[in-house]
Amino acid sequence: MSDRTYTADEMMTVAASRALRNGQVCFVGIGQPSAAANLARQTHAPDVVLIYESGTLETRPDVLPLSIGDGELAETALTNVSVPEMFRYWLQGGRIDVGFLGAAQVDRYGNINTTVIGGTYLKPKTRLPGAGGAPEIATSARETFILLRQSPRAFVEKLDFITSLGHGSGGNSRAEAGAKTLGPTRLISDLCQMAPHPETKELTVTTIHPGVTRDQIIAATGWAIRFADSVTETPVPELSELAVLREIHARTARAHAGQA
């Protein structure tokens, strides 16, 4: 039933795809979130609704967008609304079930940094792109999934800057800060999946991808990572999922190679 020759990125994308349920309304970003959401739409969740912050409502791209506002997204959308409307009516209005978030850094509570690394805010060592839609996706989507390749540089003890709220300092701190939504309910990396502990809200490993060891996860995490009481193996990607995903990527590569 399964093909062992998949990459860690493919495992990650497939796991994210499976986390989406049919009919959910999903706020999608560029890169792996796009791949995961469109894989879901083309496999088990044909009625998943994809929304990009550029204003494309219920879009069905054949090719993954390189940018958040590719023509493909507009042409296959149910309709296209203005960006103020997108943020006011659709995100803040509570219409989004799941928001995908990427990050440069994440901490044990799922707080995210996409702003600066090192130095000071005004003179950083590395200037990252900044917030984009993430701060309000993080607090207005019903729940969020974080997608991030695991390394000690990315999974850090302390963020250099909090760009988007996760579970704050744990416990009830997220709700106390004023957020009315669930926050990160799942983190999917290239090694494992994590979920917040029901009380402490610390991200805890719940499933480990096939072939990955606990030591690998510990080594790739900048904090003392905890494992849930019952950790299972992430189900391997199905051949059919890999075939669809690879076809999506191949179509995308062809489309983005040239002018189109």
């Binding site: 550029s54 494309t56 506002g69 006011r88 900044g130 701060p135 800057f161 909090i162 704050g168």
Partner: protein, 277 residues
């Protein structure tokens, strides 16, 4: 209210963009006003406050060419490719000059443009909860809902001196049609004191149906026909995004000399309205 003047891009920029202006160039991936940005570079405008939700290559070029004193933004990068090297060089190493930044989220900037278009002094929205942006931006404040007591974010309305956008079509009376991904361009024009719109073509009849996204002539200062004026971004219905250019930009912009040489031959030596490639 006076109607838009239909003129050349050179004249439109000369008439409407002044040193020291706050200048919003909008276009959310789609319809980015590249040709107008290049003309502003060629005319040597300085000390601009550049405003854009998604500063990408056009702002990398304007910043690298020394047009900007300050940047107001919410996501700065080369979409799907990586960093903006000229923007980072200015922020991290003051080259070619220091660049002050005012940083927001997309939600905040979208709301600020909306409030600007709506004639309000500030935008009120549910945002900036539990993050560090209010610590580094003193223009992020709050108001309390007088009914529920909820603390809502407030930021000043966006009110640029000049808004510059690209659109598909204008008619001969100067009304402008936008289609596809429309971003915050309508709001930017309505929020600004002056505005320049470049268009793919000027037509007799805009078409577009009973609820088309149209900016009436009397909301615009100047219109110039600039075919391919959004290249290497795209114009829905006219030409696709040149993704290969976005990828090619990365190595060009990494190095100061390569960048300057490229700008010299592809922008400075070109005439107004000529494409970059």
């Amino acid at each position: 209210m006076p109607r838009a003047v239909i003129t050349s891009l050179k004249e439109a920029v000369a008439e409407n963009v002044r040193d020291g202006d706050s200048l919003s160039l909008e276009g959310f991936t789609h319809l980015i006003p590249y040709a107008a940005g290049h003309e502003i570079i060629r005319q040597g405008r300085r000390d601009l406050t550049l405003i854009r939700m998604t500063p990408d290559i056009i702002f990398d070029q304007m910043i690298g060419m020394g047009c900007a004193r300050k940047l107001v933004f919410s996501w700065g990068g080369n979409p799907g490719v990586g960093s903006l090297h000229r923007m980072r060089d200015a922020i991290e190493r003051d080259w070619p000059q220091p660049l002050e930044i005012e940083e927001h989220s997309h939600g905040a900037m979208a709301n600020a443009y909306e409030a600007g278009a709506a004639g309000l002094p500030c935008a009120v929205f549910r945002g900036y909860i539990g993050n560090d942006l209010p610590k580094v931006n003193d223009r992020i404040r709050s108001v309390e809902c007088p009914f529920t007591g909820e603390k809502l974010a407030a930021i000043p309305a966006m009110r640029p001196d000049v808004a510059v956008i690209h659109a598909q079509k204008a008619d001969r009376r100067g009304n402008v049609l936008l289609e596809g991904i429309i971003g915050v361009q309508k709001e930017a024009v309505l929020a600004a004191s002056r505005s320049i719109v470049t268009v793919e073509e000027i037509v007799d009849d805009l078409g577009g149906g009973p609820n088309a996204v149209i900016l009436p002539s009397w909301t615009i200062s100047a219109i110039a026909a600039v075919p391919n004026g959004a290249f290497p971004s795209y114009a829905h219905g006219y030409y696709p995004r040149d993704n290969s250019f976005y990828k090619a930009w990365d190595p060009i912009a990494r190095d100061r000399e390569t960048f300057r040489a490229w700008m010299d031959s592809h922008v400075m030596q070109r005439k107004t309205g000529e494409g970059v490639q």
